[in-house]
C-alpha cells in the first residue's frame, strides 16, 4: 500500500511542517506584530503631554476617527489625494520605463552575453554596492545648474541648439522628470535580476521547436519568449512597485519641491509630527491595503500562469 505523500516511514506528521517554523516566526515577529502596532496606532489616541501616539491594543477601544478623516481626505479633492494620484502616475511611469529599459538588458544578458554573463551581471549590480543616498546625491551633482560649474548632464544639454543656460532640473517643470529618473535609476536592478532569472530559465528547446515549426525570430519572441517571461516581468514589477509606493527620500533628495512630493512624504511628515502619528499610521494602513490589492492581483495571475503551464 503506498504511503501518503510526505509521510516517510519513521517520521512524524509534523516533521515537514516544522520547516516552516522559522519563516512563520519571522513573519509573526517582523511583519504581523509591527503591522498590528501600526493598526493600533491608527485607531489609538494621543498622550496629553507630548501628543505622542498611544496605541489602542484592544480592538474594543479603537477610535475610528483618524481613519475616517484620512479616508475622507483621500476621497475628496484634497491636496493629499493630489499627492496620491501623483504617486500613482510616478510609479506607473517609472515601472513602465523599467520594463522598457530593463527587458532588453535582461534579454541580452540571458541570451547573448555568453561567457560575459557573470561579468555583465556584476557590472550592473556594482553601482548598487553604494548606498542609495550616495547614488542620488551623485545624480544631483550630475544635474546641478550651479552657474560656476554646471553638472555634466547640464553641460551636455547646453550643447543642444536653443539651450543657452543650464536647465534647472530640481524645480519647476523638470522636477517630475528628475524624480522619475531617480526612481528608475534607483530600482531598475531589482527589476532586471528576477527578469534575468526568468529569461535564463526558459528552455532553449522550446525556442528551437518554435523555429523548427517555421516561426520567425520575431514571432518566436512574441509568442514564446515574452509569454514565458511574463512571470519575471510581473515579479520584477512587484518588487519595485512596492517600495516605490512608500518612497519619500527620492523626491526629497532629488528636488524638495512640493510639486513632486509623493504619498510617502505625507506619511513621513505625519509620523514625525507630534499629534499626527495616528493620521500617519492610518495613511500607512490604507496604502498597505491598496498595495495589497495589487499584490493579490499578482498572486492570482501567478497561480493562473502556473495552471496554464501545467495544462
Amino acid at each position: 500500500m503506498p504511503t501518503p505523500t510526505g509521510d516517510i516511514v519513521g517520521q512524524k506528521r509534523w516533521y515537514w511542517p516544522a520547516f516552516a517554523a522559522p519563516g512563520l516566526a519571522w513573519l509573526v515577529l517582523l511583519f504581523l506584530t509591527p503591522f498590528y502596532a501600526i493598526v493600533a496606532t491608527a485607531f489609538g489616541r494621543l498622550d496629553p503631554i507630548f501628543a505622542g501616539p498611544l496605541p489602542a491594543w484592544n480592538p474594543l477601544e479603537w477610535d475610528r476617527g483618524w481613519m475616517v478623516q484620512v479616508l475622507r481626505e483621500l476621497t475628496a479633492p484634497t491636496p493629499l489625494r493630489g499627492q496620491f494620484l501623483r504617486t500613482i502616475v510616478y510609479v506607473v511611469t517609472s515601472v513602465s520605463l523599467c520594463v522598457l529599459i530593463g527587458y532588453p538588458v535582461a534579454y541580452y544578458i540571458a541570451r547573448h552575453a555568453g561567457r560575459w554573463k557573470v561579468l555583465l551581471l556584476t557590472l550592473m549590480i556594482a553601482p548598487f554596492w553604494m548606498s542609495y543616498l550616495m547614488r542620488m546625491l551623485a545624480w544631483v551633482n550630475l544635474l546641478t545648474n550651479d552657474p560656476g560649474s554646471p553638472g555634466i548632464v547640464s553641460r551636455l544639454f547646453m550643447l543642444l541648439p536653443g539651450v543657452e543656460e543650464p536647465i534647472n532640473w530640481f524645480a519647476g517643470r523638470a522636477a517630475p522628470i528628475t524624480v522619475i529618473l531617480g526612481l528608475v535609476y534607483g530600482y531598475i536592478p531589482f527589476f532586471v535580476l528576477p527578469l534575468y532569472a526568468a529569461l535564463d530559465r526558459i528552455d532553449r528547446s522550446q525556442l528551437e521547436a518554435a523555429r523548427d515549426m517555421g516561426a520567425s525570430p520575431r514571432s518566436t519572441f512574441w509568442r514564446v519568449t515574452l509569454p514565458l517571461s511574463k512571470q519575471g516581468i510581473l515579479a520584477g514589477s512587484v518588487i519595485i512597485t512596492l517600495p516605490m509606493f512608500g518612497d519619500y527620500y527620492t523626491p526629497t533628495l532629488m528636488s524638495g519641491s512640493p510639486s513632486v512630493t509623493m504619498i510617502g512624504n505625507a506619511i513621513e511628515s505625519r509620523i514625525h509630527q507630534a499629534g499626527q502619528a495616528p493620521s500617519g499610521a492610518s495613511l500607512t494602513f490604507l496604502l498597505s491595503v491598496f498595495v495589497g490589492v495589487l499584490m493579490i492581483y499578482y498572486l492570482v495571475s501567478v497561480a493562473r500562469a502556473a495552471k496554464e503551464a501545467r495544462a
Binding site: I49, D146, G172, P258, T261, H272
Partner: protein, 445 residues
C-alpha cells in the same frame, strides 16, 4: 515638532536608516504605551489641572512677555552640593555631529572619565526613547518647546547651580530665560536667528539694499526674478513664520492661535509654490547655496556661517550674504538650544560638571568653531570674534578658513538681537495641529 538645524533626516537618509527607524518605532510602541498609561493620567488633558500642591500639572509654555517658572516636584529633587563625581562613563544624548569630539576628549582628560556619544534623529524619537528608557544617558539637548513637557512628565531633574559657576559667562538674559525662569532645569547651548541667505552672483543684492528694494525684506523670497533657485526650510514653524512675517512684519506673532493668520500664511506659501517653484529643504542653506543648488534660501545664521566649509574657493565664499530682517524692523525669529540632565541619569554629578565645562569660555567657543553654531557668551561680540578670533583658536572659525572677510559678519547673534527677535514656543496640541495641517497642505503641492 520643529525640525532642528542638526536634524540629519533630510541629508543622510539611507534605506538602512529608514528601516532602522521603522523598526525602532515598531518596537518602541508597546513600551511607550505602558509607560505613558502609567505616568500620564487619562483625564489630565494638558494645560491647567492643578494638583494638591497648587502646581499646574500640564506643561507650562512661557513667552518672553509671560516668563514661567517651571514646576518642581517633591519626588524629583536636585542633587546635593559638593559630591564627588561618579566614575562614568558620561553618556551624552544629542543630535548627530552637534558637538566636537575633541571637546569631549578635553573633558575626558580633565576629569579622567570615558565618554559615550549617543545620537537621535529628531526630538520625537529622542523623547520616545527617553520615555521608554531605551537609552540611558546623563546629558540631553532638548529644544525649548519640549522642555516644559519634559518637566511636566518629570523626565528632567532640577539643576544644582553650585556645580555650574560658569553660568556667569552666559548673557544675562539667557541666565534667566523666559521658558525656564531661574534656569532650574536647563542651561543654554547654542543660539541662532532665522534670516535670508543668498549668493551675489545669482541674487545681485547687498544686505543693505533689501529694505529699499522691497517694502519688507522678506519679500525677496517672493521675487519672481529668483524663480527656481529659492528655498525655504522644511520646518512647519519656520515656514509658516515666514508666511506671516512677509505680510505682518514686526507685528507678527509667530505663536498665534488665530486660524485666519495661519490660513493667510499658508496662502502666502502656496503662492511661493506657484510663482517661485520653491523647494523645501534642510540642507539648502548651509550646503545648497555654497554648492550653487540654490541662489536664495531662508537660513539659520549658523547654517550660512558654516557655508565657507562647503564652497570650492575663496572667491566663491566671498559671494555669500546673510541678513536678518528683524534688524531693519521687519521682524524675525531667534532661538537657542539647551542642555539638561534627565531624572534617570546614572552620573548626575559628572553631568553637572559637563554642563559647567561646556559653558567654559574656551571650550564653548572651541565647540562653536566646529559645530558652526554660536555660543551666547559675554565675550562674543562681532568686533572681537570676527576681527581677533579667540586666543588659542586662531584659524579655526569658518570665516578664517577661506581667508578673512566681512560678508558674513551679520551672522553673529548679539544680545540686542535677542531683545528684538521673536521666539517660537511650544504650542497646545489643538493650535499645533492648525500649523501642521497648513504646512502639510503646502508640502502636498
Amino acid at each position: 515638532m520643529v525640525f532642528h538645524p542638526r536634524d540629519p533626516n533630510h541629508r543622510r537618509l539611507t534605506r538602512r536608516d529608514f528601516l532602522r527607524r521603522s523598526l525602532a518605532t515598531g518596537v518602541a510602541l508597546p513600551s511607550t504605551a505602558a509607560i505613558l498609561a502609567a505616568c500620564a493620567s487619562e483625564q489630565g488633558g494638558g494645560g491647567g489641572t492643578a494638583t494638591d500642591t497648587g502646581q499646574p500639572e500640564g506643561p507650562l509654555f512661557g513667552t518672553p512677555e509671560n516668563p514661567v517658572r517651571l514646576q518642581t516636584w517633591e519626588d524629583v529633587p536636585p542633587i546635593a552640593s559638593d559630591l564627588e563625581p561618579e566614575a562614568g562613563p558620561l553618556v551624552i544624548y544629542n543630535w548627530e555631529q552637534y558637538i566636537w569630539k575633541k571637546v569631549l576628549d578635553d573633558f575626558s582628560k580633565k576629569y579622567d572619565v570615558e565618554w559615550r556619544y549617543e545620537t537621535f534623529y529628531n526630538m520625537e524619537e529622542a523623547i520616545q526613547k527617553i520615555q521608554t528608557g531605551q537609552v540611558e544617558f546623563d546629558v540631553f539637548f532638548p529644544t525649548i518647546d519640549v522642555v516644559p513637557k519634559l518637566v511636566a512628565a518629570k523626565l528632567l531633574q532640577p539643576l544644582n547651580h553650585d556645580y555650574i559657576p560658569n553660568m556667569k559667562n552666559v548673557w544675562p538674559a539667557l541666565q534667566d530665560p523666559f521658558y525656564d525662569q531661574g534656569a532650574q532645569y536647563t542651561v543654554p547651548y547654542t543660539i541662532y536667528h532665522t534670516g535670508i541667505a543668498w549668493r551675489t552672483d545669482l541674487v545681485p543684492y547687498e544686505p543693505e539694499d533689501l529694505p529699499t528694494a522691497y517694502d519688507n525684506s522678506w519679500q525677496i523670497l517672493w521675487d519672481t526674478d529668483f524663480k527656481g533657485i529659492t528655498g525655504v526650510y522644511d520646518d512647519y514653524r519656520e515656514a509658516l513664520a515666514l508666511g506671516m512675517l512677509v505680510d505682518l512684519g514686526e507685528a507678527t506673532d509667530v505663536n498665534t492661535s488665530d486660524p485666519a493668520v495661519i490660513e493667510a500664511a499658508k496662502q502666502r506659501l502656496l503662492e511661493l509654490n506657484d510663482t517661485m517653484d520653491v523647494r523645501y529643504t534642510i540642507d539648502g542653506a548651509y550646503a545648497g547655496i555654497p554648492e550653487g543648488k540654490f541662489g536664495l534660501h531662508q537660513s539659520w545664521s549658523g547654517d550660512i556661517q558654516a557655508g565657507p566649509w562647503y564652497v570650492g574657493s575663496k572667491e566663491e565664499s566671498a559671494l555669500l550674504r546673510y541678513t536678518w530682517p528683524a534688524r531693519d524692523g521687519f521682524g524675525g525669529t531667534i532661538g537657542n538650544d539647551t542642555m539638561a540632565i534627565p531624572t534617570s541619569a546614572k552620573n548626575p554629578v559628572l553631568a553637572h560638571l559637563f554642563l559647567n565645562f561646556m559653558l567654559d569660555e574656551f571650550e564653548g567657543i572651541k565647540n562653536w568653531t566646529w559645530v558652526g553654531y554660536q555660543v551666547p557668551f559675554n565675550v562674543v561680540e562681532p568686533e572681537t570674534i570676527f576681527d581677533e578670533g579667540y586666543p588659542g583658536l586662531e584659524g579655526w572659525f569658518s570665516w578664517e578658513y577661506r581667508g578673512r572677510w566681512d560678508n558674513l559678519r551679520s551672522t553673529i547673534v548679539t544680545q540686542e538681537d535677542f531683545e528684538i527677535g521673536k521666539r517660537a514656543i511650544g504650542l497646545p496640541v489643538q493650535v499645533d495641529t492648525l500649523y501642521q495641517n497648513a504646512f502639510a497642505e503646502v508640502k502636498a503641492g
